[in-house]
Amino acid sequence: MPRPRELLAIPARRSTWRRYAYHVIGAALVAPYVTLTGFVALALQGGAGVVAAWTIAIAACCLVAPIATGMLAPVRMLEIAAARLLLGVEVDDADLIRDAASWSTRWRSAAWFVAHVAVGGVIGTLTVILPPVVVSACSAPFATGDVQLGRLDATVPGGPESAWLVPLALLSPAALVYLAVGVGALLARVAPRLLGPSPAEQLGAAQRRADRLAERNRLARELHDSVGHALSIVTVQAGAAGRVLDSDLAFARQALSDIETSARNGLRDLDHVLGLLRDDTAARAPTPTLADLQRLVASTRSAGIDVTAELTGRIDEVPQAVSREAYRIVQESLTNAARHAGDVPVSLTLNVGVEHLELKLTNPLDASRTQRGGGGRGLNGIQERVASLRGQLTAGPDAGEWRIAVRLPLHPTP
């Protein structure tokens, strides 16, 4: 159970209003189905009776139609995106797009869509009805004669005996907010089951991952063998040449030439296999670079994280390899900040100098939250990228801030 203090803080949280927004979207989705129901019912009224017409219309338009909508793949993708962004749930849809969705997946996403619309309809209706009710309930003690509660078909007597209504009326909007948050939490809990991949899809994705890994392993082994072979020759020949240098100059000369050839062959193999590994990742998706940084910042902002970004220097002139890695580093840093620091402003500065690219990302440390290490997974990834470019990384708390500073050389050192 959450502590009272946390309960009180709920209306002030950003996530609360994101959840509310999610319900409002659900409410907006109700409208077309309701309208459709009206049209269909009116059209049917001539032939069948009124009751029959409305029953058929409601069944067709408020049940069958939303279920059919929910089965559409684009709707599913939109729902996954909305659930991620507004409910803050992790839905694993890796590689889903490749597979035609199975019927079980379609039914699950239909169930989710119906739930979203239904919950949105209820919360949206309450949101519209409640304000006039509150106003009229608060005015009741001062009125003479019966007072209608908003546009509801209910009245209360005017005068001081209705004073008890006032605190109730004033508290009701807060109750609605808690209801929205509670239902949102419930939705967030079932989201992975309804929107996530089915076991078969997970299996397919795992299979593809395994294939990819096997291929990479094969390339790594190939590299290991060919470069190991070349270096063995270099070592043995160099050792031999050193031994016989004084006695057999012709051998030493031949050895040098063989060493040169072997080393060159080894480097060629290295180049080739590393090229394959690079292409392997490149072929999967266009790898973003610093040119896409503004978009990354914008999407982070729209996810509710307050990012200020200051980008200086000739970002478009950064070498591709550095640019790609720098983008990933920023992306992982922002993810880490959002995951571990919560709703705090993040400041990003990136400067491209003559020799180096420097980027810094800071966010205030929230004293009430412990900085969860999470095994340093995010930081490990950053560390690997920085190391691969022979850059420098410092990360850690600094004067009340969490701070990541990265310095990458723009050109490989000879």
Partner: protein, 224 residues
């Protein structure tokens, strides 16, 4: 004592390099070369080398199979020193199981190469005990049976000496540690090898690891 050597490796540049290193030593000479394991037995029968340097990964007949054939077909087979590019190569342990007496990394320094050949020919201490132990640990069952060599019927003293051999101790070192004469150690070692049906120390140690008599994953200090 002059030692004759046969080189078996599919890479001519490895052979020519090793030949130059070996022939630079006054007491070592390369008698012949082969580029795969198929003709090794016949060549050894003809040239009678003391040591065969055998690449483990070769086309057609690899070093493991060639070692097996050598030991099966010759009455007095030479010692086999397996050559490998990578230390953590399962093939190396398989070659040791097949009867090779030791292994050598191709990246070894020239003086290590000649030292390994001499040590192997003398046969009185184990080459790279720590590395053999590491290889054994990769392959050993997680829970070895404690009494794997019971059927061999080693005496307590012989068991103790087998453990010291596995640590890479030479006869002289064992006699100093146990305070017994060099002759006594020699007799004990001979008994250990006979009871384990092992042709040399390496084979005895491999059997000790394989049977679980010594657990290669146990932390205890290595002599070499």
């Amino acid at each position: 004592m002059n030692l004759g050597i046969v080189l078996v490796d599919d890479e001519p540049l490895i052979r020519s390099g090793l030949r130059a290193i070996i022939n630079a030593e006054p007491d070592l000479s390369v008698l012949g070369e082969a580029d795969d394991g198929a003709g090794v037995t016949a060549m050894v029968r003809r040239l009678r080398p003391d040591v065969v340097l055998m690449d483990v990964r070769m086309p057609v007949v690899d070093g493991i199979e060639a070692t097996r054939r050598l030991l099966a077909n010759l009455d007095e087979p030479p010692r086999v020193l397996v050559l490998t590019t990578f230390e953590n190569d399962d093939y190396v342990f398989d070659a040791l199981r097949a009867g090779a007496s030791g292994f050598l990394l191709k990246r070894a320094r020239p003086d290590e190469v000649v030292r390994a050949i001499r040590l192997l020919a003398a046969g009185d201490s184990l080459l790279f005990p720590a590395a053999i132990r590491a290889l054994a640990a990769r392959r050993a069952p997680a829970t070895p049976t404690a009494s794997g060599l019971d059927s061999a019927g080693l005496t307590d003293r012989e068991a103790e000496i087998l453990r010291l051999i596995a640590q890479g101790r030479s006869n002289a070192e064992i006699s100093a540690q146990l305070i017994v004469s060099a002759e006594t150690v020699k007799t004990h070692v001979a008994h250990v090898l006979a009871k384990l049906d092992a042709r040399d120390r390496t084979q005895a140690v491999i059997r000790a690891y394989d049977s679980g008599f010594i657990a290669p994953r146990d932390p205890h200090p290595d002599g070499g």
